[in-house]
């Protein structure tokens, strides 16, 4: 009741203030209008930081996979999960709160459609979720585990690095957990602060035996997620949460695959290569057009897509041709996967190793 009243008041003030004007919007955050931040009269407008600035750039409608439907990123994920559960009777989805549809609505409707033994909640325990998922995968069934936020994946780090990644190797290929996929919302969203904004892919990039994938859009997400689920190695699929609602595209209804470990050249250019993944791809697309407009520099834009094993050939081949390579990252500046790539790229350029 009180909440409803508060929202009503805000909406009234909104109307009074008019559409643009003093109101700062969390751009791209995809939040409902009730959450607009008011700019108080008399305060310096510059004090209000633009928390997230990017414009999602949809790709053209894909024509080769049949009928498409307008979907945002979480709907594309639901579609991929729906396709997987329909095709593979052993597939199960589990994690915290997935039964009612998930905190980001990625599993809406699946429990009703496929049954409570296939889409179910687990206790609040990430190490248990991943461990349990490994066990399911060891028997050959398909396990799709959800970690509620990538920030909470760390209790499962031991299971992922010491167990999942090494299962096949240490058993001499007697056993494996290749049919395990772990999904987690990833990356900054504007209001997430310390524990709802992290991008931990660098921690896993050091670990051979797993694959780590980050999509930039709904179409990419569905195809890459389906590939992760079908891949015979344990995969971690990080979903940029800021794109869950903000990214809307035409996405094929039927299942399709986008290959793992293949980077995509989104835009061709002749002077500089820009590489990024996830949300940042859209930032660098903007940067590329600004560079062209303001500096006359022609940029090639690459979406890395799979962080490990990464597509060294595509990146290095293009870098060989160009003056330099900028690796773009919006996260923590301490050693990240970017630094590894910076180290690896010259090596492959000059020594072809």
């Amino acid at each position: 009741m009180a909440v409803a009243a508060a929202i009503a008041c805000r909406l009234l003030r909104l109307r009074a203030a008019g559409a643009g004007g003093h109101w700062r919007r969390l751009r791209g955050a995809g939040l409902p209008r009730g959450f607009l931040q008011p700019a108080s009269a008399g305060e310096d407008a510059a004090q209000w930081r633009r928390v997230a600035h990017f414009t999602f750039q949809p790709d053209p409608e894909p024509l080769e996979y049949g009928q498409t439907q307008k979907m945002n990123l979480f709907q594309a994920v639901t579609s991929a999960l729906d396709n997987s559960l329909a095709k593979d009777p052993t597939a199960v989805i589990f994690g915290e709160d997935v039964a009612f549809g998930g905190v980001f609505r990625c599993t809406v409707g699946l429990r009703d459609k496929y049954g409570k033994d296939r889409v179910f909640n687990t206790p609040l325990c990430e190490q248990g979720i991943v461990g349990f998922g490994i066990g399911i995968a060891v028997t050959g069934a398909t396990a799709i585990a959800e970690i509620q936020f990538a920030d909470y994946i760390f209790p499962a780090f031991d299971q992922i690095v010491n167990e999942a990644a090494k299962y096949r190797y240490r058993s001499g290929d007697l056993f494996n957990c290749g049919s395990l996929t772990i999904r987690a919302p990833w990356g900054c969203v504007g209001h997430g602060a310390v524990y709802h904004s992290q991008s931990p892919e660098a921690f896993f990039a050091h670990c051979p035996g797993i694959k780590v994938v980050v999509p930039r859009s709904p179409f990419q997400a569905k195809g890459l997620l389906l590939s992760c689920i079908e891949d015979k190695n344990p995969c971690i699929f990080f979903e940029p949460k800021i794109l869950y609602r903000a990214a809307v595209e035409q996405v094929p209804v039927e299942p399709y695959n986008i290959p793992l470990s293949q980077a995509e050249v989104i835009q061709e250019g002749s002077d500089v290569t820009l590489v990024a993944w996830g949300t940042q791809v859209h930032v660098i697309r903007e940067v590329a057009s600004m560079a062209q407009e303001k500096l006359g520099v022609s940029c090639e834009v690459i979406d890395l897509r799979t962080i490990i094993p990464w597509d060294v050939d595509t990146v290095c081949k293009l870098v060989l041709c160009f003056i330099g390579c900028f690796l773009s990252y919006d996260k923590i500046m301490s050693p990240s996967f970017i630094h590894y790539m910076l180290n690896a790229t010259p090596r492959c350029m000059f020594w072809n190793t």
Binding site: A4, V92, G131, D158, Y169
Partner: protein, 474 residues
């Protein structure tokens, strides 16, 4: 209602109905001349419908005294009665959960109705598995001391826990072990050659020489490869990680496989978070799994008094809603009976079982340990001489007339000979080819790994003389 969470439509309807009922009750009370206003019945009606936080102000309500036993708790989190006496539950460690046994320390059946009455052949298989394991342990321990293998862990004193439990399972039941369960594999007829191959890391090792000794695995015998991190098998099997054991059990349940998963771990590994995770998942997700804890008194040098303060591991089971029992792990029949019943019910009822087998680790933790640094030789001798699973079973066999000293002598000679032969063969074999360093990281070998593999091959072509390439298969 200020400060109350908004009522859902369903509760809103209940509230309307309730107010109507209360109006009737109040009216009836007035007519009947009761001066108690709403009355007990009205309140009972209220409680039964479970509506929270109704701030009904009635002038006479404050004067009522309600016995706390009249109203039942409505909390979703527990089904229990109210109590109005402040009392902490005392953890009972003085006389904890009793220890089930069938034989006494001299191998005599205590209660004939608990005797599983197994046929002679089967009991002899128990005995031979335990003693063969013991012989293999002695020889491989020595071989480490002589520098022939890098590391070894013995199973002295715990053979009963392995064999009793393995015998109670079906051969297709999936086993997730920790690292001190070689007897399970021995009972499942894992050849000595393969035990040795893994310890030597030679070309016959199914694990391709990648792990330290005693990290056995066998797909055919449904024994998942051992990993070093403790408790990690528990959520899986739902191994030192129980989670995976639980996951496997869940998948078996979905597949209607009529299969149970058994997950072994020590009392030390039970302290890991993964154990807690595994127990909780198994119970909430109703998995057919047996959690088998070998409580052998020590986690390397850490005695149980420093590992836990509660009543061992068995007492934790009920906290998770898990059927639990504590057994004498040195009594192979007790272990057998408990595991057999747990298996039957786990599959029939889709629920987990926890068996805590009390035993004693007679040997050192491993070849890297010297346990005289933290325990007395007398203590070890007691268990070796007075309460050993092999001796107790031998007494039982002898009292049944199924075994005698002559057979004992012959068997000792025979088993030693078998082990020595396998041992000598294993020593002669080369190690796996070095290119196997790079395979199986992923199902397919990625380009980067292939480049590293080729790079190593080129390096060895040029500098091969600095490496012991003769020991490796070409």
């Amino acid at each position: 209602m200020k400060g109350q969470p908004p009522l859902s439509p369903r509760r809103g309807r209940i509230l309307e109905g309730l107010l109507a009922n209360m109006a009737v009750v109040t009216a009836a009370a007035r007519v009947l001349g009761s001066s108690r206003g709403l009355g007990q019945d009205g309140l009972l009606l209220l409680r039964r419908l479970g509506v929270r936080g109704l701030a009904i102000s009635h002038p006479q309500r404050q004067q009522q005294r309600f016995s706390s036993l009249d109203d039942k708790p409505q909390f979703p989190g527990a089904s229990a009665e109210f109590i109005d006496k402040l009392e902490f539950i005392q953890p009972n460690v003085i006389s904890g959960i009793p220890i089930y046994r069938v034989m006494d320390r001299q191998g005599q059946i205590i209660n004939p109705s608990e005797d599983p009455n197994l046929p002679q052949e089967k009991v002899l298989k128990f005995y031979k598995s335990m003693t063969l394991l013991n012989t293999m342990d002695r020889i491989l321990y020595e071989s480490q001391r002589q520098g022939r293998i890098s590391f070894y862990m013995t199973n002295y004193g715990e053979e009963g826990t392995h064999v009793g439990s393995a015998a109670a399972l079906d051969n297709t039941d999936l086993v997730f072990g920790q690292y001190r369960e070689a007897g399970v594999l021995m009972y499942r007829d894992y050849p000595l050659e393969l035990f040795m191959a893994q310890c030597y890391g030679n070309v016959s090792d199914l694990g391709k020489g990648r792990q330290m000794p005693v990290h056995y695995g066998c797909k055919e015998r449904h024994f998942v490869t051992i990993s070093s991190p403790l408790a990690t098998q528990i959520p899986q099997g739902e191994d030192a990680h129980p989670g995976p054991a639980v996951g496997a059990a869940y998948a078996a349940k979905r597949a209607n496989a009529n299969r149970v998963v058994i997950c072994y771990f020590g009392e030390g590994a039970a302290s890991e978070g993964d154990a807690h995770a595994g127990f909780n998942f198994a119970a909430t997700l109703e998995c057919p799994i047996i959690f088998f804890c070998r409580n052998n008194g020590y986690a390397i040098s850490t005695p149980t008094s420093e590992q836990y303060r509660g009543d061992g591991i068995a007492a934790r089971g009920p906290g998770y809603g898990i059927m639990s029992i504590r057994v004498d792990g040195n009594d192979v029949f007790a272990v057998y009976n408990a595991t057999k019943e747990a298996r039957r019910r786990a599959v029939a009822e889709n629920q987990p079982f926890l068996i805590e087998a009390m035993t004693y680790r007679i040997g050192h933790h491993s070849t890297s340990d010297d346990s005289s640094a933290y325990r007395s030789v007398d203590e070890v001798n007691y268990w070796d001489k007075q309460d050993h699973p092999i001796s107790r079973l031998r007494h039982y066999l002898q009292s049944r007339g199924w075994w005698d000293d002559e057979q004992e002598k012959d068997w000792r000679k025979q088993s030693r000979k078998k082990v020595m032969e396998a041992f000598e063969q294993a020593e002669r074999k080369p190690k796996p080819n070095f290119s196997l360093l790079f395979s199986d990281v992923y199902q397919e070998m990625p380009a980067q790994l292939r480049k590293q593999q080729e790079s190593l091959a080129r390096h060895l072509q040029t500098y091969g003389e600095h490496y012991p390439l003769d020991h490796f298969e070409k």
